[in-house]
């Protein structure tokens, strides 16, 4: 029996599901599946060289845009085109944008959508507007359709609804703080990170204006502890009714609509994120993906090749991709 090593993080539904069903994989493939889950915050910091290199590297691991770009540069990504092209993979069943978002040449200035396939997405998020109609009604405001309306509505909430802040926003010292709601606001309002010539554009007039609008609104209506707000704290605070508005990961719906975790299940409404000038909406997007480690030793370990190895007679036949 060969061993397949999976690396992911805790506090994650997909990784938990892999761990819970490891026996199913082992019975179907005849291989041992070792699941290693690291602390969530540590994992997203992406300092995984010790787990992806060395003598016993993970064979497959979780990653996604931004994270996988770094791992590609470090030599920990094996392109998946040769596997994903097989009909059994049914790549056409995945949403086109999610697959396109995993193709990249590895060169700065080259956009996504072209180049080798770096991962297979297992979930995705974009950034919708989640809101609590009761809170907006108490504050006497309508559902915001534009960013100026969003911040105006947010500022009205703490003035009229005791104990509730206007909007949630990430502020922790982590790379994804600028990625979700803020990037969606910034790009929709004409800003960006780099200009077409490759120069950093975060101090452009549009970018400064967007940042100032956000910063001023946080003081009035955002999280009181903004600089310590990570994604989980943010999601849980909204789920406990502490905000009226939120533009952040839409996959929080799994928390918001779970009565065991949420005080607002069934009460939340969902809409497109606010628009910028001219009605422009440019929501950012992210995916959580499985990546094959280029340093994987699985293909050379004894008995690890799927070809020619019959599945145990008691197991259902299952095609194997070679990992």
């Amino acid at each position: 029996m060969a061993e397949v090593r999976f690396l992911g993080c805790d506090n994650d539904v997909f990784c938990g599901h892999v761990q819970a069903r490891a026996t199913e994989f082992e019975q179907a493939s005849g291989h041992k599946l070792t699941v290693r889950l690291l602390d969530n915050d540590f994992y997203y910091a992406n300092k995984l060289t010790g787990y992806l290199g060395g003598e016993s590297p993970a064979d497959v691991y979780m990653s996604g845009p931004v994270l996988v770009w770094e791992q590609l540069g470090l030599g920990f990504v094996r392109p998946l085109d040769e596997f994903a092209g097989r009909s059994s993979f049914d790549l056409s069943d995945f949403f086109d944008r999610l697959i396109a978002g995993h193709r990249w040449s590895g060169h700065f200035g080259d956009g996504l959508g072209h180049g080798p396939l770096l991962g297979i997405p297992v979930n995705w998020e974009s950034y919708n507007l989640a809101y609590l109609p009761e809170t907006l009604a108490q504050a006497g405001v309508d559902v915001p359709r534009t960013w100026p309306e969003f911040f105006a509505a947010a500022k009205a909430i703490p003035a009229h609804v005791p104990g509730v802040r206007g909007f949630g926003q990430r502020g922790a010292e982590a790379w994804h703080t600028v990625y979700t709601g803020f990037a969606t606001q910034l790009w929709s309002c004409g800003g960006r990170d780099f200009d077409p010539g490759g120069s950093c554009a975060i101090a452009s007039a549009a970018a400064v204006d967007a940042a100032r609008t956000l910063s001023d609104a946080i003081r009035v209506a955002g999280p009181a502890d903004w600089t310590s707000q990570g994604w989980y704290e943010l999601a849980m605070d909204f789920a406990h009714g502490k905000y009226g508005l939120l533009v952040d990961s839409d996959h929080y719906v799994a928390y918001f609509e779970n009565p065991g975790l949420s005080d607002v299940a069934g009460k939340v409404r969902y809409a497109l994120p606010p628009a910028g000038p001219g009605g422009v909406r440019r929501p950012n997007m992210w995916m959580w993906s499985m990546v094959m480690n280029a340093r994987s030793a699985a293909r050379t370990r004894r008995g690890s090749s799927c070809s020619g190895r019959p599945a145990p007679s008691s197991s259902p036949a299952r095609p194997c991709t070679g990992i």
């Binding site: 539904v13 997909f14 599901h17 069903r21 179907a28 845009p65 931004v66 770094e70 540069g73 049914d90 995945f94 949403f95 944008r97 999610l98 700065f108 200035g109 080259d110 297979i120 297992v122 979930n123 995705w124 998020e125 974009s126 919708n128 502020g171 010292e173 982590a174 790379w175 703080t177 600028v178 803020f182 990037a183 969606t184 960006r192 490759g198 120069s199 950093c200 975060i202 101090a203 970018a207 400064v208 940042a211 956000l214 903004w226 600089t227 839409d250 996959h251 719906v253 799994a254 779970n258 939340v268 969902y270 809409a271 497109l272 440019r282 929501p283 950012n284 997007m285 499985m290 991709t321």
Partner: protein, 103 residues
């Protein structure tokens, strides 16, 4: 990898809260569709985002994490009143132009 990204596996994971599903077949699954239909407006918005509006907006770079961290630090510094916002962002932009790997 094929096992964990199969339609069967991902649909079961979605029913257990692995959001948002990446396969069209999961959204079409009766159990998942019935559950999602109870979330007011969510499925319709998600389809608009994944089919028409959403994109990875940031500029790919092998060390984008460093870029984003420096940018985040500037926003936090400005919020905490260390320096005016435009100064913080200008300093960060200068740093990022030096640190981003353009290969």
């Amino acid at each position: 990898m094929q096992w964990a990204t199969s339609s069967q596996f991902l649909t079961r994971a979605a029913v257990h809260g692995n959001m948002n599903p990446t396969r069209r077949s999961t959204w079409a699954d009766p159990e998942f569709a019935a559950r999602a239909s109870e979330w007011h407006g969510f499925p319709e918005v998600a389809m608009e985002l994944v089919n028409n509006l959403g994109n990875v907006l940031v500029t790919p770079a092998v060390n984008y994490i460093e870029v984003a961290r420096r940018w985040t630090r500037a926003l936090r510094d400005a919020y905490q009143g260390d320096e005016p916002l435009d100064h913080c962002l200008a300093a960060a932009a200068s740093d990022i132009d030096r640190l981003v790997i353009r290969t």
